[in-house]
Symmetry: C2
Subunit: 387 residues, 2 copies
């Protein structure tokens, strides 16, 4: 069969969402590994850590205090990558220089062509998922994840333009003030584990919202919009239907969401959670759909932890419609989540996306079908905690 052929030859696969190719080298998983090993994160942590700035009642590095909270807790990042308050910046069209040191006169328009810059304002939030220091998403049943989705949704709706049918003023329990600007995009994400640059095991995610639509979502939107124009249907709607029909790459499935290793996955155990209905953003989900999303997040994260019997590191991001912008752009969006986990062989051996991957093309060592099969066969209802 096709599957058997592709399990054995190097080949490229196309990612229609990004419009880019990846290299798959299935035979390469056999090579020995003598390189760097990760330190797996501790499996048993206390429920409260007095030195953790996200535990209720503790003081944060920049001075604020984390209040006693139950459920989720949102605050503005003390070290935000983008800020609400900064001077406006418009790139000067002609530079202060025209005379080159060694090459003579440089036309100033080449400068504004090659050195393009634009100011960005925005707001960065941290969301604690639980007051318990030692509960990751994988430790939570769906009922504990649903309130986190509600908090993500409330953050999103409170940043929509007031004219949007989904706009909601920030509720008091959200603890945030109305944004000063009309931002155009909100990126919700989670970095989990030291291998993914996370410095605190306390369960938390981040939200960065900006005056510009960032590179990745704008690439995806461009491709989804073009697909819709050409075929009259949604790219991710067609794709999720196709995967559910094939059941080769699906990892978990319920009535509302599918979790799968995409055909074009880059990271060894990368997955995507896709809404089965063509929904653009979180506030459009029905109560049942939200429960379905919570359920499938709970299953995927548990399967991840069970794969190498470790606290599985990953970065997760939610892609949905921009807050504001061209209606055709928003119309083309289809709510989905990406999980990119670095581990390849065990709790300590990750895949390095380095020289060839950075300079030439992303390369993977096992097929997405092989990854999906392993994840599919693992328990998603309970996490094995050996140590």
């Amino acid at each position: 069969s096709d599957r058997e052929v592709l399990d054995d030859i190097s080949h490229r696969r196309f990612n229609p969402l990004r419009g880019s190719w990846i290299l798959v080298s299935p035979h390469r998983a056999k090579r020995p590994w003598q390189g760097q090993e990760e330190t797996p994160s501790k499996m048993s942590l206390p429920a409260f850590d007095s030195s953790c700035y996200l535990c209720p009642g503790n003081t944060r590095a920049a001075g604020g205090t984390t209040p006693a909270y139950s459920g989720t807790f949102v605050f503005v990042n003390d070290y935000s990558a983008v800020k609400e308050d900064q001077p406006d910046y418009v790139q000067p069209r002609s530079g202060g220089w025209t005379q080159g040191l060694t090459t003579g006169v440089i036309p100033t328009d080449k400068s504004s062509l090659l050195l393009q810059v634009a100011g960005v304002r925005g707001k960065c939030y941290v969301i604690c998922f639980s007051p318990s220091h030692n509960l990751t998403l994988a430790d939570m049943p769906a009922e504990m994840i649903a309130p986190i989705i509600k908090t993500w949704t409330a953050l999103y709706t409170s940043h929509l333009p007031k004219s949007s049918p989904y706009y909601r003023a920030p509720a008091a329990e959200l603890g945030i003030t109305a944004p000063r600007d009309q931002y155009t995009y909100m990126q919700i994400f989670e970095n989990k584990g030291a291998a993914m640059g996370c410095s605190n095991p306390h369960p938390h995610g981040q939200v960065w919202t900006t005056t510009s639509v960032p590179e990745e979502p704008s690439l995806e939107i461009r491709n989804m919009k073009e697909y819709k124009r050409k075929h009259g249907t949604g790219l991710l709607k067609d794709y999720v239907d196709l995967e559910i029909a094939k059941m080769e790459r699906v990892v978990a499935l319920n009535d509302y969401f599918a979790a799968l290793c995409p055909w074009w996955a880059v990271w060894p155990f990368e997955t995507m959670i896709v809404c089965r209905r063509e929904v653009r953003s979180l506030p459009e989900l029905t109560e049942e759909e939200r429960a379905g999303l919570a359920g499938i997040i709970s299953i995927v994260t548990k399967k991840y932890d069970n794969l190498f019997e470790t606290n599985f590191p990953y970065s997760m991001g939610i892609h949905q419609a921009p807050l504001d912008g061209d209606p055709e752009d928003c119309e083309a969006c289809h709510l989905h989540l990406h999980f990119v986990p670095p581990l390849l062989r065990s709790a300590t051996v990750k895949k390095f996306l380095v020289g060839y991957e950075l300079m030439a093309e992303p390369q993977r060592d096992i097929t997405p079908e092989q990854a999906a099969e392993r994840l599919r066969n693992l328990r998603g209802d309970e996490v094995y905690r050996g140590n």
Copy 2:
């Protein structure tokens, strides 16, 4: 000045080579770091290690023997990501199924649209830079680097189509057989250090050559070609002239090459080495230019080691014209090298390009001008070896 404004506000910069934006948050370097720390590699290694499969006379993991060699040594990677020998694969245009499990009939053309695949053949080489186990490029004077460039060049010319004016049959001392296929692209790269997925400190690089032009170079070629069509000049020629005129991001300079932190750098101390003449590929370099390239590689790698007084990890890649293909594509190419090093603050603290970077947009914490200033002020003639 403009430079002062940009040192203090978050902003986006445009990369005209990739056609993509990055986010710069200069104020963010101030935040404390409590996350993962790298293990710096050992500064003192023996000149010969009997357990190293790249040291002369030793046996390799897959069984071959590394001969006694002086200078450089090339062999076919025992665990190649792409192979010369594999069955041809053409994607079947209609799948073996049409009946969806849960959604009814799926048009088969959606399947070939969303699950695109193509076979790739190729050849992967390893190049030992020196028989000495403990000499990195940073330890080598320019005169020791020039022969490595000659080896890269010979590998490239022996893979060109026989009709090319630069084609040379592989010389006996290269120790390789003529490639079986006409490959279209050759990626020369080096992963240095455990933090960049390298499992052996013996100085070596890699070459992967394939039947397809990979994603990154094809993106760059597309943008360089379009620039040339529009402006009649070369993108990188204009850019290198502009940078030499400004001298704000230049790190090292000689008559033939410039090393600089590009305006659009993603990694904290990312640099690019650009040929000052519009040269498409290695064999077009004159003897003097090759010496100039060797000289500037020696300086940049020494500066890197001096930055945090450590064996500085990085991935390096050479971008040049494809081996074969559309003449306009080849014509648009301009020889350059990228160095992407992960360290941010010290020998042990790297920048993690994770959640936001993977899901939304690459983000950096210091400006390229700040990085260039630090690198410029470091010695490039000698490496400090404290321990």
